[in-house]
Symmetry: C2
Subunit: 151 residues, 2 copies
């Protein structure tokens, strides 16, 4: 059994990675039909004619959703799981059918709680990259992380 | 046919709303199994024993995903669709099985582009509320909005 990752292990600059996974046109349409029903996400013809997208693009929420299992995989040893209260979420460019996405997690900061000696907070930068190494999503959440018992 | 909403219609303080929808335990488990596989989202027993969640909680990405069709419904008349580059995303409290969620959209600002006379940018505050009127998600995206032709 791998030892769990605690706050003390999250030194700023430390990186974790996972992927890649490939996203298909069928998945893009399926997710968007249910969760983001707009023609540039669900209709390849309408998307091709769209002045900004010029082709089918995944919902940003789909990019977020398929990034998360990669984050769980990358940080799988995190004690207590990955629990975030949110953060800045950016989608610098669209995800297209056939794109192959990977996740890179970097620790930006990790701070013990002043009031709760058993835990602390970490700020991560989670970049989702396509097969060209281009950022398609950058999420910077603050997460709750247990301290090592007796550490 | 309802006239489309353009940048000129997005006066700061204007509000749009949609919902409610009810989220079930089966949906929470199904979404998380695929997109956020962590025990407090997929296993009611493990979730009940979790010190922070104390019961099954929806993935934040699930809250985001089920909020989006409500946003599309609320802003359905937006010319060009709802296209955002991201923003601050917060999950102040968990979503539980059986919760009934609504969305309230408020226009924070709307600014014509200096370089592109046909469009502008708006900043929205999109609050997802549960049946007690409590915020379960607050997303503040910047979106691209066409100006009214000849306006």
């Amino acid at each position: 059994m791998t030892e769990a990752i605690h706050l003390e292990d999250l030194t700023p600059g430390r990186r974790f990675a996972a992927g890649p996974v490939t996203i298909t046109e069928a998945e893009i349409i399926d997710f968007a039909t249910r969760y983001d029903p707009q023609p540039f996400h669900t209709d390849p013809g309408a998307a091709a004619a769209h002045p900004l997208f010029k082709g089918l693009a995944a919902s940003g929420w789909h990019t977020a959703a398929i990034s998360m299992p990669l984050v769980v995989q990358a940080l799988g040893g995190l004690a207590g799981g990955i629990i975030g209260g949110g953060g800045e979420l950016l989608w610098p460019r669209p995800v297209r059918p056939g794109d192959t996405l990977s996740v890179e997690v970097e620790v930006l900061e990790a701070t013990p709680s002043r009031s709760r000696p058993d835990r602390g907070a970490a700020v991560l930068r989670i970049r989702t990259l396509n097969q060209h190494g281009e950022e398609v999503q950058v999420f910077s959440p603050r997460i709750v992380v247990p301290r090592r018992p007796g550490g």
